[in-house]
Structures are given as C-alpha cells and as structure tokens.
C-alpha cells in the first residue's frame, strides 16, 4: 500500500507491504543510512528516529503506522545548533568509538534538548536509557551531552 509521510521536511510516498518495518523503508528504499540496524527488537536504540518530534525505534514500527506523520532522522537535524554541539562534544569527550550507536544517541539527546528536559545527570541517563553503547561505558556520552547542553544554552 502507499504510505505518505514527511521525511526530514520533505513529502515522500513509498509503496510498502504491511509487514515492512520503518527501518527497512528508511535504509533500503529511501537511502537513510544514519538509522542503524542493531538488535531489530526494540532493545538497542541504534535505529532511533524522531516521530512527530519524539524518539522512537524504527525497527518495531510498521511503515504503515507512520502514514501521514513526520519522521526526522539524523540527516534532517544535522545542521541544527543542538546537533552541531552534540557532535563536537562527543568528539571532544571521546564519546565515539566504533560509532555504530552514535546516531541513535545524538537523535535521542537532540529530542531531550528540544523538549526542554532539565539537564541533570539523572535526567540525561533516563532519557538515554533506551540507547546501548558497547564501547564507551556511557560516562563519556553523558559528559558529552551535558557539555553540549551547556554550550547551546
């Protein structure tokens, strides 16, 4: 069936089977490669995208579910001051090693900043609980997000 939605500000229409997940539509049909195929079962956060501004896992959303909605991926927010700050602080803090989880973390952290969540260490941990990083041990990621929030204030 035809599914139309806004992807990073542009209207797109794709023809999908009902059993297709958003992750596959984004990666295989629309060339969005920041969205990573990780666990594929809503555990790791590597496939995080923004649905109407809120972070969600694209691996457990059927593409038909997002008909008429607005999806944003890292590609669509990379030029915002928030993401620029996040990227530079991730680099400075050494919060990126293999990098596979990084887009998911940045998208979730961006949503947190945009929603005005008070940037305490507790709140940052809570917001990022659905993203897994197997390299850094999280401390550097939390430091990077904290510094990024301070720098865009």
């Amino acid at each position: 069936m035809k599914v139309s939605f806004k992807l990073n500000g542009e209207d797109v229409t794709v023809d999908v089977e009902p059993n297709e997940i958003l992750l596959d539509t984004l990666r295989l049909k629309l060339g969005i490669k920041s969205v990573k195929r990780g666990c594929e079962r809503a555990e790791c956060g590597a496939c995080t995208v923004l649905l109407n501004g809120s972070p969600v896992y694209s691996c457990t959303l059927l593409t038909v579910q997002i008909d008429g909605k607005e999806v944003r991926t890292l590609e669509g927010i990379q030029d915002t001051p928030e993401v620029k700050a996040l990227v530079s602080k991730f680099v400075e803090a050494g919060a990126v090693q293999c990098g596979f989880c990084t887009p998911g973390f940045i998208v979730t952290a961006y949503a947190m900043i945009k929603k005005g969540v008070e940037p305490t260490s507790e709140n940052i941990k809570k917001a990022l609980e659905g993203n897994i990083c197997r390299c850094t041990g999280y401390k550097k990621i939390i430091d990077a997000v904290t510094k990024a929030i301070e720098s865009v204030k």
Partner: protein, 291 residues
C-alpha cells in the same frame, strides 16, 4: 535482516466504531495499539496471524480525564503521556512511578496502557498499581459495554477476559484521598528492564492502625496477583515495622514464581518479601508515617 515478519492483511480503524466493525467481522486477527510488543511478537513468531487491525489512530481513546472522584485513562494513551501527566502525578502517583520505570523513552512514546494490559504479560508493570487502586476496565463491543475489575481481567499469560469481538476502551481509577501508595520494581539492571518482580502497595491508616491494605505483585505468578493473606494479616493491626515484616512473609502464600531467564523462583520469592516490606514502608511514608 535477522527477522522477517510473515505477511498479513492490514486494516486501519480511525474511529472506535470502525474498529468494532473490524474486530466483529474478522477472524484470526491481532489488534495493534502501539505495536511495541506485537511487532516483535510477529517477528519472533509468537503469533502468526492473517490480519492485523491497527487501532493506533483512534484519537477518541487517547485521553486522561479527571472526574474528581475518579480518573479515566483512554486505552490508547501512551505510556509517556501517563508518566508526564500532572493529573496522574497528583491523583495516582503510584501509576506514574510504575510507568516511568517501564521500557525506554522510545518505547513509552509509542506503547499504550491498553496494549500493556491486553498483551497480558505476567510482567505487565501497569498491573500492580492498577490492582491496588481497584481500577475497573471498560470493555466495549458492538453489543454494548461492560466493566471488569482489573483483578478479574487477567486469566493467564497472554490471556484476558476480553472476548474476541471486544476492545478495551478505558481504565477507570477511583480516587481515594488519604491513601498512600508506592511501587517498587526489581529488574536485572536499573533501567530499561523487565521486572524480576514488581510490587505495588496501598495503605490507609486510621488511629495508627491499618484501615486498608492492598498488595499486588507481578512476574511471580501466571498473572499479576493480589497478596490477600498478607493484606488480611495487616488489616486492623497497629502500624509497626514488626507487623509489616511479618505480613510481607505471607506474600509467599499468594505467589507461585517460576525460574526463567530473568531469575530463579527462589530469588523471586525472597525478593517478593523484601520488596513488599519496603513498598509498605514507602507507602506509609507517603502519608507522613515513619516506622
């Protein structure tokens, strides 16, 4: 690609009436509310179904209403909306506490309270608070509506009192001022985790005696359960740490945990006692009583 979802026919309802038409005319279907459980269950073939009825767009079932003497939550209200709701935080904070600890932000933004209940996992974390709050579920079909107390809704793992042509419409929570309630959950780690055991308790105290006590646990029986023996033991007794400690041991009469990937039955039993005691203490603290 590790998983492929088998093909199914997809039906989308925009209104409750449309959804009821669909579920009364289709056979072999599953209802998709948020899909955070269903899509995974389809991937891992826990279910293979011919038809999926997507009710996620029914706006009329997404609300939190404060009627003064009760709070009503539409079945399609997202978990994150419940965690963030000033009404829930003020009137039924125990539910906000439980929902806040469920899954992750990404899942709470999609998952619904109705989905959590109708999926009927023994580890459903919305259940223990709703049990101690004496919540009622309003079920609707083309024939009409009926109300089922939450404790009668769960029949077994993934089994509910919901008939095949029925949908859960809303959750009704009576507001009982003066009660203290709390929720404690133990998982294998601190965040984004399924319950090894979770406990909700509610207490009402009059003249330093327990006037009412309600205790509910999940993940320690085929369905979430009330710990009636422990409740009865405390009713009428003086509020003291000794009485609470004794009562907590009695939860073992009402639970029948199994060993699984998350924990052994033995550990679940021990932790049920500990969490019940701690939750009772916390519930008392919420109404200003220290033991």
């Amino acid at each position: 690609m590790f998983y492929r979802i088998p093909k199914f026919n997809y039906y989308r309802a925009s209104t409750l009436d449309e959804a009821l038409d669909l579920v009364s005319s289709l056979n072999d279907f599953k209802v998709l509310a948020g899909g955070t459980d269903l899509v995974i269950d389809l991937k891992v073939r826990r279910y293979t179904v011919k038809n999926v009825v997507d009710i996620s767009r029914i706006k009329e079932l997404d609300y939190i209403a404060d009627d003064g003497d009760r709070v009503r939550i539409g079945a399609l209200t997202k978990l994150q909306s419940i965690a963030d709701s000033p009404i829930i935080r003020e009137k039924v904070p125990v539910l906000a506490d439980a929902v806040r600890e469920m899954a992750s932000w990404q899942i709470r933004n999609i998952a619904t309270i109705g989905g959590n209940l109708c999926n009927a996992s023994p580890a459903a974390d919305t259940a223990p608070p709703l049990y101690v709050l004496n919540a009622t579920l309003r079920l609707v079909s083309k024939e009409g509506e009926r109300e089922v107390p939450i404790a009668e809704f769960f029949l077994g793992p993934r089994k509910t009192a919901l008939r095949s042509k029925e949908l859960l419409k809303e959750i009704v929570i009576p507001h009982e001022p003066g009660c203290g309630a709390s929720f404690l959950k133990l998982g294998r780690r601190n965040s984004f985790t399924l319950s090894v055991v979770a406990v909700a308790t509610l207490v009402k105290v009059v003249e330093n005696k327990f006037a009412d006590v309600r205790i509910a646990l999940n993940s320690v029986a085929p369905t979430p359960v009330r710990a009636r023996k422990a409740e009865e033991y405390l009713k009428g007794k003086e509020v003291s740490l000794d009485n609470i400690t004794e009562a907590a041991k009695l939860v073992l009469h009402d639970i029948s945990p199994i060993s699984d990937v998350r924990a052994s039955a033995e550990y679940r039993k021990d932790m049920s006692v500990v969490l019940t005691r701690d939750s009772l203490i916390k519930s008392l603290e919420r109404i200003g009583i220290k033991v």
